[in-house]
Symmetry: C2
């Protein structure tokens, strides 16, 4: 789940890194907001050192900004940046998809099918949003997993997190969700039949649709409020 630190459930800094990361992606903090370190310390029940280490990791990961001598703040959100993220994500995922189709064998197919099954299961309980989100993330991960490039997967993961930060601003939309879900199923079929061209086009559409949904909600939130 975490990007960089081959995480450990035993370290306070890793624990707070994971939860803070999720909270940032879920939009629990306002864009541009300055983080009050001592408040976080109380909220997450950790000491200063592990908290600061987690904040440093998140800043290096791009989910926080660290400024000179005045702490950490949540990055502002701009329509422009969303477009950048979505466009690059499309390119990198299509690249990875192509390689995954070329390199993937039966183990990969099994993992994709399994992940898709879990995603459909999660679909049956629309109220458990976080479970669906996790299954969704894992499905897309499984789809590209066999691409063979550690670094490409790493960047895609990072972009996905950034993208979700925008996408999560949008309210749930059952109609859109239904379309996206159908696309997931089609992606699985195209993966099994190794139809690269069609799969790339579909993945492109898939991201484009989430993109336009997120785009609709991006202008609303203030881009630079301070606290």
């Amino acid at each position: 789940m975490t990007a960089s630190p081959s995480a450990s459930r035993d370290m306070a800094s890793s624990r707070v890194f994971d939860t803070l990361k999720q909270d940032l992606i879920r939009g629990r903090f306002a864009a541009g907001e300055k983080l009050a370190i001592s408040a976080l310390k109380d909220h997450y029940q950790v000491g200063l050192s592990p908290l600061r280490e987690a904040l440093n990791r998140l800043a290096a990961y791009g989910l926080l900004e660290q400024v000179n001598q005045r702490g950490f703040r949540v990055p502002a959100m701009h329509l422009e940046e969303l477009d950048d993220i979505a466009g690059l994500r499309t390119q990198l995922e299509c690249m990875a998809l192509t390689q995954a189709f070329q390199a993937g064998y039966s183990e990969w197919e099994s993992q994709v099918l399994a992940a898709h099954h879990r995603l459909r299961r999660a679909d049956e309980h629309p109220e458990r949003v976080e479970e669906w989100e996790q299954a969704h993330l894992r499905f897309h991960r499984a789809l590209l997993a066999s691409c063979g490039s550690h670094w490409l997967l790493r960047f895609i993961e990072q972009l996905h997190d950034q993208f979700d930060r925008y996408r999560r601003l949008a309210p749930p939309n059952p109609a859109v969700r239904k379309v996206l879900d159908r696309q997931h199923g089609e992606l699985v079929e195209l993966a099994l039949s190794r139809d690269i061209r069609a799969a790339r086009a579909l993945l492109d559409d898939h991201i484009r649709m989430s993109h336009s949904v997120a785009r609709g909600c991006c202008e609303l939130p203030a881009s630079d409020d301070n606290t």
Copy 2:
């Protein structure tokens, strides 16, 4: 120069981040080596907290590995990974180059010319290796700077650092250096004439050449020694 923390010359943690980052890229530590934190503390003349914060950032950046409850270690180096890095770097830089050519205007052209001039100047003093390295990095940065994608540039920078970690293992080779230098000049010309196709091919060659040089030295160092 640094990737994530909009750096400040005033923070101990940022200072040690920068120097440690350079030392890692320059290969001052053996691949796979476990870092002795208290030794680093003495060597870099900082306290534990800023040092640990820097280590955490470097781990999130991918220049260190953090393991459970046993500190930090320098990532092992594998031929396989070098190929991954080089391949992805080629793709991303070609992508950025194309966009840069489309979007770049006179200010960009000026910056490219200026950076190239500084690189040629640095060439005149082969003994000042670090100056050349910096000028080289800045030249490539200037070439892609106008591509318009913050995230693409960020990933390229990260890959460049990873690539250099391998490339720096190779001993200086004046013959290769001469070819690479000529290519820099040609890239400038192609940038000014906006010859995208030729420039992409040349950039591909350029990276491929560094890649093969680095490749020659990658099998020698032990891939997983512990301390």
